[in-house]
């Protein structure tokens, strides 16, 4: 089929300003275990191709799951007709930033192919973790999941790009829900959306789900009896997995340059980080440095090339508190006279690429977590996300967490439940006075980032270590 797509691109080269084709096959396997039984095992294959064209300065895209040169030719013609319809309302020509077309291959480095591991071995781990969680009498719902993805994709363009990639992803997690006296408390491991990485089955084995099942259940049960989190302005230590989501919502999304240019305005919204702020706006304190890095090994947002054929890169977003760069595509980068930093990805063969987060990482600081707690007089420490909400310019946010600990005079006093904190993005990041060191730093994979119409789900990640924020509004 790759040759067929090459032939079709060659045949339309004189009719278009630009065209690319992506041939994608995705296989996924998902296992859900619940309350001692296997709730579902599913296996999915999706294969097809999409052709994206610029004609008369306007975009068109069509796609099909029927793999033949005849169908590819028809789909290319359809994409051209769609581009012509786009041009009925043209205000300016689409211009792409320069990019040297690459001919290359890339494959995720893994030790153990997750699709070569038997279902029995995977199920056994989940059932054992589930059994241990259910030993705790307060646990009414025990859950575990594993998911594995293999994506084979070919990218071809009329500029001469020819890139083949194989991306393999593995993920898992467990959760225990305690219910009693009209209250419901859930605790999960390693965090509320599990953890997923561009790694093999070894990643799941290293999670030690079984070893952590008892503690997960105990914490859920303990939360039922824990006092309510107080409502006050206080110091807040945010654990790595919750901070990952904070980075995702309040730094990742607002730095997507398509949002900044209004291209997502009617759905997810726009961004407070408008272009005149680049290079001079204080996004956070001097302790805050954030990079987009699609090259770091194992991150869920790691790949060889994005879906425009741009190489994976590491570029600064926030340096020592100053906002310095966006996540870009060839179209949006050109508007800033930049080159793309390779953030365009599509959710399968039937979607166009959009600007998506890669691994958006908060750089580690110097602190030991123990010292940070000792240094905190009156505060709480929170981790594992329970609820999330942020306004359509990414300023006012509210997050709820599964678990929280009250800190007084440098000591953890005990659990508190239903912790919620809220703030305004730049004020909040300006209040960050400490970030823990690389020993506490982990890249958290988020396999469920939604964006665009039709909705596309991206797999992204965020490196983070626990950090402290001063005088944050806690509680509703």
């Amino acid at each position: 089929m790759k040759d067929a797509l090459k032939n079709v691109l060659a045949s339309i080269k004189n009719k278009v300003d630009y065209a690319d084709a992506r041939l994608v096959t995705t296989r996924s396997e998902k296992i859900l275990v619940k309350n001692g039984s296997v709730d579902s095992i599913s296996d999915e294959i999706s294969r097809g191709f999409g052709i994206r064209v610029i004609v008369n300065g306007c975009w068109g895209f069509s796609s099909s799951s029927v793999l033949s040169e005849e169908e590819a030719s028809r789909v290319a013609g359809e994409a051209i007709e769609i581009a012509k319809a786009t041009s009925l309302l043209k205000k300016w020509d689409v211009v792409l930033s320069e990019e040297e077309p690459k001919v290359d291959t890339y494959r995720t480095k893994i030790i153990k192919d997750p699709f070569s591991v038997s279902l029995d071995e995977k199920i056994a781990i989940l059932l054992e973790a589930d059994r241990i969680m259910r030993k705790n009498r307060m646990i009414k719902v025990s859950e575990g999941s594993m998911q594995f993805y293999r994506t084979d994709k070919v990218f071809l363009s009329t500029e001469g790009a020819d890139i083949e990639q194989t991306i393999i992803e593995s993920g898992a997690g467990i959760a225990a829900t305690a219910i009693g006296d009209g209250d419901v408390q859930k605790r999960s491991y390693p965090t509320s959306w599990g953890d997923t990485a561009t790694r093999g089955f070894e990643f799941v084995q290293q999670m030690k789900l079984v070893d952590n099942a008892e503690k997960t259940a105990e914490e859920a049960a303990a939360l039922l009896k824990a006092p309510q989190c107080p409502s006050a302005e206080m110091d807040l230590i945010i654990g790595g997995s919750q901070l990952a989501l904070q980075v995702h919502e309040s730094c990742g999304h607002p730095t997507e340059l398509d949002r900044v240019f209004g291209m997502e305005a009617s759905f997810a919204g726009t961004s407070f980080l408008t272009v005149e702020k680049m290079g001079n706006f204080r996004y956070g304190s001097e302790h805050v440095s954030i990079f987009q890095d699609a090259t770091c090994e194992g991150g869920l947002g790691t790949f060889g090339y994005d879906d425009e054929g741009v190489p994976a890169q590491r570029t600064p977003i926030v340096e020592n508190g100053i906002f310095v760069g966006y996540l870009t595509s060839r179209e949006t980068a050109a508007k800033l006279n930049q080159k793309s930093n390779g953030c365009m990805r599509a959710d399968g063969w039937n979607r166009i690429p959009l600007i998506r987060m890669t691994n958006i990482n908060l750089e580690p600081g110097e602190w030991e977590l123990e010292d940070l707690i000792k240094d905190t007089k009156d505060g709480i420490m929170v981790d594992s996300n329970k609820s999330w909400s942020i306004d359509d310019k990414r300023l006012n946010f509210q997050f709820g967490t599964e678990i929280a600990w009250r800190i007084r005079n440098g000591k953890i006093e005990g659990l508190v439940k239903n912790a919620v904190y809220t703030g305004i993005t730049p004020e909040f990041w300006a209040s960050c006075d400490a970030v823990c060191n690389s020993k506490h730093w982990h890249i958290w994979g988020i396999p469920s980032c939604g964006k665009g119409e039709p909705m596309q789900v991206a797999h992204v990640a965020h490196g983070a270590a626990p950090a402290r924020f001063r005088k944050v509004r806690v509680g509703v």
């Binding site: 999706s46 999409g50 199920i123 305005a265 329970k386 310019k393 119409e453």
Partner: protein, 447 residues
Amino acid sequence: MIGEAKALEILKKLLTMVEVEQAEAVLLGRASGLTRFANSTIHQNVFERDTVILLRVAKGKKIGVARSNLTDTESLRQLARRAAQIADSQVPNPNFESFANSPRAPKVEAFYEETANCTPVRRAENVKMVIAEAEKLGFLAAGSHSTTADEIAYANSLGTSQYHRSTSAYMNTVVMSPTSSGYADFSSLNIADFDARKIGEKATKICADSQNPREIEEGRYDVVISPEAVDEIMNWLSYIGFGAESFQEGRSFMSGRLGERIMGENISIWDDGLDTKGIPMPFDFEGVPRQRISLIENGVAKNVVYNTITARKEGKQSTGHALPPGEEISALPINIFFGPGEHTIEEMIESLDRGLVVTRFHYINGLLDTRRALFTGMTRDGTFYVENGKVKYPVKNLRFTHSMLDAFSNVEMISKEAHLHLSNWYGANVVPALKIKDFNFSGKTEF
């Protein structure tokens, strides 16, 4: 679109390849065009067509599921083998008895050729009308306009077979000035129902009226929330509470409360997959005909919805609300209707002594406390302060944090006008505007 005869032929051929006690197969076909616009020009314009087959097999009580969009004979054989292999690795599900032996679901006419054959040129013409309305006042328009043809076919080894096809057309727009924005959307089975100029006019007026918003203090206000805002709430209420799973596990606001009044007497909510005022689908993903289910009746918690397995746990029959196998949730209502009232939205606003009018909510999250249905979210695209029945001025956006059980116990007026809003998956909600007393706004933002 494959059509009924060919779709059922593929499924029946697949079922012959499966050497197990029972099997069921679902075919989902979709052809969809979508035109997105921003900054008053089209920036994304796409088309997709796909046919996906889901196969679920049962070896005794061991169930395997496989899914593929490859429909040639060899791929179907592989699909059958894969599902059987998965079943071999399964543990028995004690709540599985059998796939459904269901009668043919009633035919519902929901397919319009005009929608199915809509061209990108026609969508562009509609978008042009929206942009023209925005540009009359020097504003910019963004939004999306889609036209979709869907088909679903079902067959199982017990002889059940079903087929349904439908179309849907949808448009939303956010019209923006330097200091404000306004929103409107429209959904229908038939593209012929569209009046794009009217959609653009509505969003443009809200944008114009909400320019230069003033800051307002957080706190409790009586509010009139538009049907578009109610739609967002209903999606979350359904997700956390109206399905059997969360109900049985004790996580739902309905758990242990059937027969109890949990909302105001004026609140009735039901699901009806046959009503063409919504986007109907007469059977579910297990081939079971959808029943009309009363969820909340005059404020009383009446029922949740079931698939075959959750129903069996309570010794009940499926209500015909199964989602596809392998989903996180097994049963949900996807054709929700909220009982309308007797008032116009204008009358509801005029009745406010001191309160707010909300055009739309953004990024609602309903996981704070699912037993209380404690939600948070932001207002967006036009929020207005009202005094003595008159809109005084636009206000900057606010965050609410409030129990929806409390909110729906404090509904003072309901609009007679109901709004259809297409889901971004299958189905739709048909909901009115609500006037709610003492709605809690817990925070504010800068615009």
